[in-house]
Structures are given as structure tokens and as C-alpha cells.
Symmetry: C2
Subunit: 252 residues, 2 copies
DNA sequence: GTATTTGCCTGACCTACATCAAGTCTCATG
DNA sequence: CATGAGACTTGATGTAGGTCAGGCAAATAC
């Protein structure tokens, strides 16, 4: 059975790690069955967030990290002059909130881009559980390290790439994330608006729009509102520059 | 005795965590004495790197994280088209190499900007020691979380700030890091070149140069080669926007 | 000592992208 | 069904910062 044939995980809140199709991507990877059980017990499944609802606010006391189960989140930072700077988009199986550990305060807010359900993982529990399960601790180190790695790639993007490369990079990045979860890597739906894309990439909305219509004219992608299909994969890869995503070789 | 009156830590390679004036800033914070001892035993003090020498190369197998004891490092990423993108500068007490944990490969290189000595902390040892010392594990989580936090601030900088704000942010950031180690927050020496600053901030060398001379003309800073003095602190803070560095309140 | 390289500064010019302005399209709501 | 508010697109224009080119000074080599 394919990992994604099921729709169980938005059906009831009681679903568990063992039966969750994301479990291989999420934290429990590399854990023994009994350990997954123990992890499972500290996780709280909350009722889904509606579009626009906030999971946690910048400045709030840190308590939990969250694994996205369905839907998408954005995290953002309100800058001193009041503008929002989006720092990331989070898809199912991805962990949000790690930046709160340092100061026990969330330095960013997290908001749902669509109806989104998450698993809440109280960090104090996770931490004490990680005392008992060394491989869980290693797993957390890895997840955090990967985040550092990804953020550094993002810096390269923001610092060195032009508008075309930025947009192509985002699309290819999303493509890879869909693929990893078993969805099509070439055809998908953007859950964020053009404005949010621009904000994230350091571009004006208009630029995002222009780049995407130009890509479409040049038969690199096909766009229909939020639906995107990548047509000319080599062209996209060339724009991104192969060897993205740290040095990570995608083994999936 | 001030934390910085001593010069012991570049005098001999055998210096230990207990006697290191950086220990309060580095990993051992919040560790019991006996635990510091145990940590101390896994750390290898290497002979100093000369300017331009590489600590580890992008793509190399990951083995250790490093704490800078004296001097400065930069980390950088060679992009697909062969250019270098600097992802960070590292001052004494700061930890380099955390991004290697994820894939067991360093995704960046680290190079000395001046004569630099480091403590090598073999990660496998650190990890197993962290099984025995929960507070050490927490400390590692915190350090990694802080890194994520800082990187996100860097994204805001690269995505939203103009040249003046970028340069001001870097100077103020360095200022804060000097201060934390007990040095002057207003007068310090840049260990990186203008080119490296530009590269890091996503600016051309010429722009960095122009911004700094303009700052000087407007009596905001005083520049003499690599020596910088901040004259008009409020102006600088205004450029940076107060409330930098995540939401962290500097308690030092 | 001179030659050469390297880092930094400065001016003139150019371009990629932002900004402004005016649509069109979508879709939610009374 | 009409209406109104967002979200998206497109064109015209402006500008911050990049690029190019030249020059000086300090460091390094010869």
C-alpha cells in the first residue's frame, strides 16, 4: 500500500504515530517500535487550524514544537517597522518551532495558510524522553541541523540569486518536498499567495507575477492560479543550479 | 579578575575548560564542575590555524564541531557557478560545524580570517556524553536553536534591508559579540575584508565601501582601515531597528 | 631597494527590480 | 444576481545598488 493512499490522518484526532503515513519522515524515523509508542504518548493532536489561524505568536512563551500533519503553515517575523517577513513554509511531516528552544520564547509566529492539522509535541516531554531514548535525541539533533543547513541555503538564495533563480528555487524546493511525501514532483498546488512568495523571496509581488508569466511563456512551467506544473525540468534545474539543498543527496 | 585580563588561552594548547575564560559563553555553561571535567576530556585543542587555513572543507565527512577560542573564522558555501557565499563569521566562544550533523557531511567550508585556535569537539563523543549529562544535551539544543534563530534574522536582513541597514546591522551585531566577551562594544577591529563583508551581506564591495565612508561623513562611525568606532550609537540602533537578535534580551 | 599584488576608495554609468497605477479575475456575501 | 474586496496581472517609470574603470596605499615578493 502506498504511503499516501490513506486519508486517515485528517479523519480523526486520535491517529497515532504508528499508523501515521508520515511517520517515516517525521521524528520517529529510526526509532524502535516500543520507542515510537512512548513518543506517541506525549504527542497531542489538536483540532485543525482554519486558514489564517495562528498556531503560536512571536513573543509567546515557548512550550511545544509542532509537526504538521496536513495543510501548510508559514512562519514569520514582524520587523521593527511593522512589516511581516516570512521565514519559512511548513508542509506535512515538517517540524515548526525549534527556534523557540533557545530563549523559551517563540521568536516568530506561525499561521495556517489553509486548513491545517498539527501534532503538538511538548518540548519538556520530548526532552525528558530523549534522555531515555538516545536515538530520539540524535534524531532531534539531525532535524535541527537540517534546519540550519536549509536556512543557510536560503541565505545563499537571498544573497546571490536573481528573481528568476529565486522563483525557480522555491518551486523546485516545493516540488522536492511534495515528491518526498509521495506526491507528484511536477504538478502541485501552491498554498501560499503570490504576495507571500514575494515576501519570502525578497521580491515584490509584481516581480513574482512577471517571472511566473514569463516562465509560462517560455514553456518552462504551466501556471493556472495556484496550480503549477513544471514542464521543462532541465531548464528549472539549470536556473536553480544543481546540487541544491546543502550537499544532501536525496535518498528518497 | 576580569574575564579577559588573561591571555592564557592562546598560550598553551593544554588549557582546559575550567580555566578557560570563555567557558561561561561556550558549551559548559550550566554544567556542574564534574561534568565540565568530563566534557573537558573529550575536547582536543589543536594547533592554531594561520590566516587562510581551512578547518574543514565543504563535502568532507563530518566528525567534529569546533569552538573558536581565539581569532575568527568564516564559513562559506561554494555555489554551483563557483562563487563563494559566506554564511557566517565566528568569534571566540562560538560553535562551528553544527550543520554537518544532519548528513554527516559538512555542507560548508570553514576558513580562518586571522590566526585562530579552536577546540575540537568530536561529535560522537559529545553525543554519547550528552546521554550521560542531560544538561549538556539541553545546552546543545539551545545552541542549535539559537543558530536557527540567528539565521532567521539573517534572512530578514538579506530579504528586507537596504545597504545602509545591512552594514549597520553587521557592525552592531559584531559590537554585541565583542561586548559579550568583555571587549569594547564601540571600538573594535574587523577581522574580515570589505569584500567578505559585501559577500556576506549580499552587497558589492564598492557599496560596502561607499556606505562606510558615508557613515563616517555623517559622524555615525569612525573608520580607519579595519578599525571601527561607533560614534552615534542611537543612529546605528535606528538603522538596525531596535529589537534585533530574535527577541533575545541580552542578559550579559 | 623596486616591483607586484592586494585591498580599498571613488566616480560614471547601467540594469534589475521596486514602485506606482490601472486594470481583470475570482469568489464570498447579502 | 449584484457587489465589493482580495488576489493577480500588466504597463510605465524610478532608483538603489551593481558593474566598470581608474587610482592610491599598504603589504608582500623579489
Amino acid at each position: 500500500m502506498s504511503a499516501l493512499q490513506s486519508n486517515r490522518f485528517n479523519s480523526k484526532l486520535t491517529s497515532q504515530c504508528q499508523s501515521c503515513s508520515l511517520s517515516a519522515l517525521c521524528l520517529p524515523i529510526a526509532l524502535a517500535d516500543e520507542d515510537v509508542n512512548r513518543l506517541d504518548q506525549i504527542i497531542e493532536r489538536k483540532k485543525p487550524l482554519k486558514k489564517g489561524e495562528v498556531l503560536f505568536h512571536q513573543g509567546e512563551e515557548f512550550s511545544s514544537v509542532y509537526a504538521v500533519r496536513t495543510g501548510t503553515l508559514k512562519t514569520f517575523n514582524i520587523t521593527n517597522n511593522g512589516e511581516e517577513q516570512i521565514t519559512g513554509f511548513y508542509c506535512p511531516s515538517e517540524l515548526v518551532g525549534l527556534s523557540g528552544i533557545d530563549n523559551n520564547i517563540y521568536p516568530i509566529s506561525a499561521k495556517a495558510l489553509e486548513t491545517t492539522s498539527v501534532c503538538e509535541i511538548p518540548f519538556s516531554h520530548l526532552e525528558s524522553l530523549s534522555n531515555q531514548i538516545p536515538s530520539l535525541k540524535s534524531q532531534i539533533f539531525k532535524v535541527m541541523s537540517r534546519k540550519i543547513c536549509d536556512d543557510q541555503q536560503m541565505m545563499v538564495l537571498l544573497g546571490k540569486k536573481n528573481a528568476d533563480e529565486k522563483v525557480a528555487s522555491l518551486l523546485m524546493n516545493l516540488s522536492g518536498r511534495f515528491k518526498r511525501r509521495g506526491y507528484s514532483a511536477v504538478s502541485f498546488r501552491l498554498s501560499m499567495s503570490r504576495g507571500e512568495i514575494g515576501n519570502y523571496l525578497g521580491l515584490a509581488v509584481e516581480t513574482v507575477s512577471r517571472v511566473m508569466t514569463r516562465f509560462q511563456k517560455n514553456n518552462i512551467i504551466q501556471v493556472n492560479g495556484k496550480e503549477v506544473t513544471i514542464i521543462d525540468l532541465p531548464a528549472m534545474q539549470k536556473l536553480v543550479g544543481i546540487a541544491e539543498d546543502c550537499v544532501r543527496i536525496d535518498t528518497v
